[in-house]
């Protein structure tokens, strides 16, 4: 934890309210996000119990699996989920704008510009917490290798149509959420705790109710009290007043309410199956419907508070103005979305179970580049974030006290003005260290020459002054200017190009061989409990 984050948390503890950790919003928020509040069943990894899902905060769609171990019911839940999510995705897949992309011409091998489609907007998925991200990934993994009856007439348990497609999209979103700064799939607790520092640990911040209590406590109550109530308070029947955001449920809810309700449902189902005449069957169907209704009400009672909390959190975030570089990062998200849309349309197979060596290395390189880019952009967009970097000795701000014109040696001398800066910051500047400032959105670099006195630095400006002998107007700081230099670079260089997968070298196992379509997941005993 950085020093400024520690300070903000200490202030939050003493004031009883979360402190801002950012002055602008560093993530894109769609005007019409799809909120997904899932619950799972205890005892089986990733077995859905139900979910609230939708784009309208007043009319979420409630999906429930009354018997979570029943595979047919699970499939129908997933099919229902696909009916909500896929039309939402399609709504963005259609609207496109023309864009240019550089590609390698397969014939000449030259880099050429090609005109391609870029989706004008991308669907955004919001889950309450980080565990929700993992569930999205898990659901994607469990669905994308399923076969529908159409794909494989022999499949013993064919998946409903569109379920494998939903799996591919959820996989794509889950994978994209690992890219720093991306906003296709967001966990609300992560985004909120990026923008506010609470007086509790970052582990506790993953409880959405407690986090919101710190950020926006009810009238007359301190954040600490409200957070404690959100975490622990129970009603007379022993149920949490603020149910956890899931996907896991509270054991007291499982034991006292859910398990008996599922048992009643099972009994009603067995009774219906045993009915021998139409009249009894009618009665028993009514009993089954009532039992199912009861489970639906239970699931809704646990997901609705979280659903409302998610929208409240989005309101809080929307109140912050968007950071200057957010749009640029969202454009990359749109490219990512468009790319996957094209792969689906082109009939490519689902994402493989495991990345090959080259794909894994490319992904890691991209994410490291995005991480560095994100850190730089957040600091440039937000003085409060920059303050943290200054406190850490990674940037400094100050006033220009003197500018002396100087020139480089050589045949064509170029301007290399010496700028003296007085600063109260204490940057960790090594000899001849490079520093950067933003000049009209582009980084201008300078070189650290030395300390003139305590808190007085001399820098030599190196570039962005035009081609002439005299620097272009406005390109050199002037006496009295307030300027801010960073020790980190503002833009990231592209990494080296890795070999194509079919040219994987011997050190990494050689080429992966012919691409075969991955088989469907085999049916195991657990699948047919």
């Amino acid at each position: 934890m950085s020093l400024i984050a520690t300070l903000a948390r200490l202030e939050a503890v003493s004031s009883g309210r979360a402190r801002p950790a950012a002055t602008v919003r560093h993530r894109h928020l769609s005007t019409r996000p799809l909120v997904f509040v899932p619950l799972t069943t205890a005892g089986e990894a990733g077995a859905p119990l139900g979910a609230l899902v939708g784009t309208d905060r007043d009319a979420p769609r409630l999906l429930v699996v009354p018997q979570p171990r029943d595979r047919d019911l699970r499939f129908s839940f997933l099919a229902d989920l696909a009916d909500v999510v896929l039309p939402y995705i399609d709504s963005c897949a259609g609207a496109v704008e023309a864009a240019e992309r550089t590609e390698t011409d397969p014939e000449t091998g030259k880099r050429v510009k090609v005109e391609v489609e870029l989706c004008a907007d991308a669907p955004q998925l919001i889950v309450p917490s980080r565990a929700g991200l993992d569930l999205v990934r898990l659901l994607g993994r469990s669905m994308r290798f399923r076969r529908t009856a159409e794909q494989d007439p022999e499949a013993p348990y064919p998946a409903p149509p569109r379920v494998p497609l939903l799996g591919r999209w959820l996989t794509h979103y889950g994978e994209r959420s690992r890219v720093p700064g991306s906003s296709l799939l967001l966990a609300l607790t992560d985004v909120l705790s990026r923008h506010w520092a609470t007086g509790q640990s970052s582990l506790e911040d993953q409880h959405l109710g407690a986090l919101l209590a710190w950020i926006d406590p009810p009238q007359g109550e301190s954040g600490a009290e409200a957070a404690r109530r959100a975490e622990l308070a129970r009603d007379a029947a022993g149920q949490l007043l603020c149910p956890p955001a899931g996907p896991a449920t509270d054991p007291a809810f499982d034991n006292k309410l859910l398990a008996p309700a599922i048992e009643r449902y099972d009994r009603a189902r067995t009774a219906l199956a045993a009915a021998e005449d139409a009249l009894t069957a009618d009665d028993r169907l009514a009993a089954l419907t009532a039992a199912e209704r009861e489970i639906r009400d239970l699931v809704e009672s646990r997901t609705r508070p979280t659903w409302d909390a998610v929208w409240r959190g989005l309101d809080l975030l929307r109140a912050l103005p968007e950071g200057a570089h957010v749009e640029e990062r969202w454009t990359r998200d749109r490219w990512s979305f468009t790319g996957h849309r094209d792969r689906v349309l082109a009939g490519e197979p689902p994402q493989p179970r495991r990345d090959d060596a080259v794909t894994a290395a490319n992904k890691l390189a991209t994410r490291e580049r995005e991480q560095a880019r994100l850190e730089a952009q957040e600091a440039l967009d937000d003085p409060l974030v920059m303050a943290g970097r200054r406190l850490a000795g990674e940037a400094f701000a100050g006033e220009v006290t003197d500018v002396v014109m100087a020139y480089s040696e050589g045949r064509r001398p170029s301007p290399r003005p010496l700028v003296t800066v007085r600063t109260d910051d204490r940057p960790h500047l090594a000899e001849r260290a490079k520093v950067y400032r933003s000049l009209g959105g582009k980084p201008q670099s300078a070189e650290f020459v030395g300390h003139e006195a305590e808190g007085v630095l001399v820098l030599r400006v190196l570039d962005k002054m035009g081609r002439g002998k005299e620097p272009e107007p406005g390109s050199v700081p002037e006496k009295g200017d307030r300027i801010c230099f960073t020790l980190f670079e503002h833009e990231q260089r592209g990494g080296a190009k890795l070999p194509d997968p079919e040219e994987t070298p011997w050190t990494h196992g050689g080429p992966p061989g012919e691409v075969v379509q991955e088989a469907a997941d085999p049916i195991t005993e657990e699948d047919v409990l």
């Binding site: 020093l3 690992r178 720093p180 495991r354 990345d355 090959d356 060596a357 080259v358 894994a360 290395a361 992904k363 890691l364 390189a365 994410r367 490291e368 991480q371 560095a372 850490a392 000795g393 960790h428 001849r432 990494g495 080296a496 890795l498 070999p499 040219e503 994987t504 070298p505 011997w506 050190t507 990494h508 196992g509 050689g510």
Partner: protein, 445 residues
């Protein structure tokens, strides 16, 4: 443990001969050499390079940092001034050591094509990754291969047919600035070390080990070997009494002076400050480090070793300060400047890798901390800090690290399919601490 007839020179020569034989005449595409601290890794690399060049095999050398590349170029030039050498560099300003410009046989360029045909071309892995070659090099030497990431090897492995991989498995593992758990357990996990991936795919490659540390004194080699290389022990090349550190000015009885005397006598010294939770840049501990360095210089130290007949003065350039974090290093530099000390190297463990000094002063990574994270417990970090010295190592630390270790056993999740690394950082920390405690000087500044 000491056998009378152990001849370190002969043992090291046998190992080197076997390595060169496998490299020049072996049938496998790769040879892996594990080298403990100061075991003559660079000497081996230079010798192998010269022999490969002699055999007429075009050679590329891959190192991890520009400083390492420049160092190898200078060593090659020193050993064989007639051998034409190419130094491939980046297009940044000041891409290489200016000393190379004085060597007529060294050609520098930012373009690989301009260095075509030279018997040896050296560069960093990052620069090699941008090189496109129509025909691969016959041979490569990959230096510091344990500090190279698997993805970085992936980018350059297409450039060579065969390679000699040299490195120190005990030093800091490469790291990624983003999570990479999703690939844990895959043989080609891009965040793993290059050697891990190489051996996972080519388990039959010959593996060698350099058995003798020429840097570490007899007082340090057993501890470093036991704590960090439990299954691949090594020996020091010198015996007790071969090296001596003495001071002209006697001790003034202060904590720094007492710990200096202890370290001069035994090779190790622990200056223990009172227990306290502090920020990373603990001002007292930082001042204590600076005070020790100041006294080391003031007391007219002389280091006697097998390298020369007479004692060599202990000057600022023969002393280094090691820390875990960069802000700590910056704080120590400031404190040293206040005491008027210049030219003493102060750096983090990452940057001290591969360097050698007579005396090191280390700010213990766990000093004053309320918790012990995986970063602070990493085996390689402590190993680097405890194995940079030829004579003595002085550790400055707050009391209570033993209890801290007991309160924070390592809890890293076990990933299926990954090799468990030995030794465990927690255990290595305890082993080093137990040894240091025997050389403890408590001091209340």
């Amino acid at each position: 443990m000491t056998t009378v007839d152990f001849d370190p020179g002969a043992a090291a020569a046998r190992a080197t001969d076997a390595i060169l034989h496998d490299t020049l005449h072996g049938t496998e595409r790769g040879v892996v050499v594990d080298s403990p601290p100061g075991a003559g890794k660079s000497t081996l690399v230079v010798r192998a390079a010269l022999e490969l060049a002699d055999a007429g095999r075009p050679l590329m050398v891959v190192a991890q940092t520009n400083a390492q590349v420049d160092d190898l170029v200078l060593r090659l030039a020193e050993k064989n001034p007639d051998l034409p050498v190419g130094r491939l560099h980046s297009s940044d300003s000041d891409p290489y050591d200016k000393a190379l410009d004085d060597l007529p046989q060294v050609r520098t360029s930012a373009k690989a094509a301009e260095l075509n045909g030279l018997p040896v071309v050296l560069s960093t892995a990052a620069k090699w990754a941008h090189v496109k070659a129509d025909e691969p090099w016959r041979h490569a030497i990959v230096d510091e291969a344990y500090q190279m990431r698997s993805d970085s090897l992936l980018a350059v492995a297409g450039l060579f047919e065969r390679a000699l991989f040299v490195g120190d498995p005990g030093q800091l593992d490469p790291f990624a600035i983003v999570g990479s758990e999703q690939w844990a357990g895959l043989s080609y996990d891009p965040s793993a070390s290059a050697v891990t991936t190489l051996l996972a795919h080519n388990p039959g490659l010959p593996q060698h080990r350099l058995p003798v540390s020429w840097r570490l004194p007899a007082s340090a080699a057993p501890l470093v070997s036991d704590a960090f290389y439990p299954y691949t022990p090594f020996r020091s090349g010198t015996g007790h009494g071969d090296r001596r550190l003495s001071f002209a000015v006697p001790s003034d009885g202060s904590g720094p002076d007492r710990v200096i005397d202890e370290a001069a006598e035994s090779g190790w010294g622990l200056l223990e400050l009172p227990a306290r939770h502090t920020p990373r840049t603990d001002p007292e501990a930082v001042r204590a480090v600076a005070a020790v360095v100041r006294r080391l210089l003031d007391r007219g130290g002389a280091a006697l070793s097998e390298r020369s007949d007479g004692p060599a003065p202990l000057t600022a350039d023969r002393i280094a300060v090691g820390t875990a974090h960069r802000d700590q290093a910056a704080a120590v530099r400031t404190a040293l400047a206040e005491l008027g000390v210049a030219d003493v190297t102060v750096d983090t463990a990452n940057r001290l890798q591969g360097r050698e000094y007579d005396v090191t002063v280390v700010l213990h990574p766990l000093s004053g901390r309320p918790d012990a994270t995986a970063f602070h417990l990493e085996t390689g970090r402590l190993c680097v800090l405890a194995s940079r010295h030829r004579h003595a190592c002085i550790v400055v630390c707050r009391a209570g690290v033993g209890d801290l270790l007991d309160a924070y056993p390592s809890t890293e999740p076990v990933q299926l399919g990954t090799l468990v690394k030995f030794p465990d950082g927690w255990e290595a920390n305890h082993a080093v601490l137990a040894h240091l405690t025997e050389h403890k000087v408590t001091w209340r500044p």
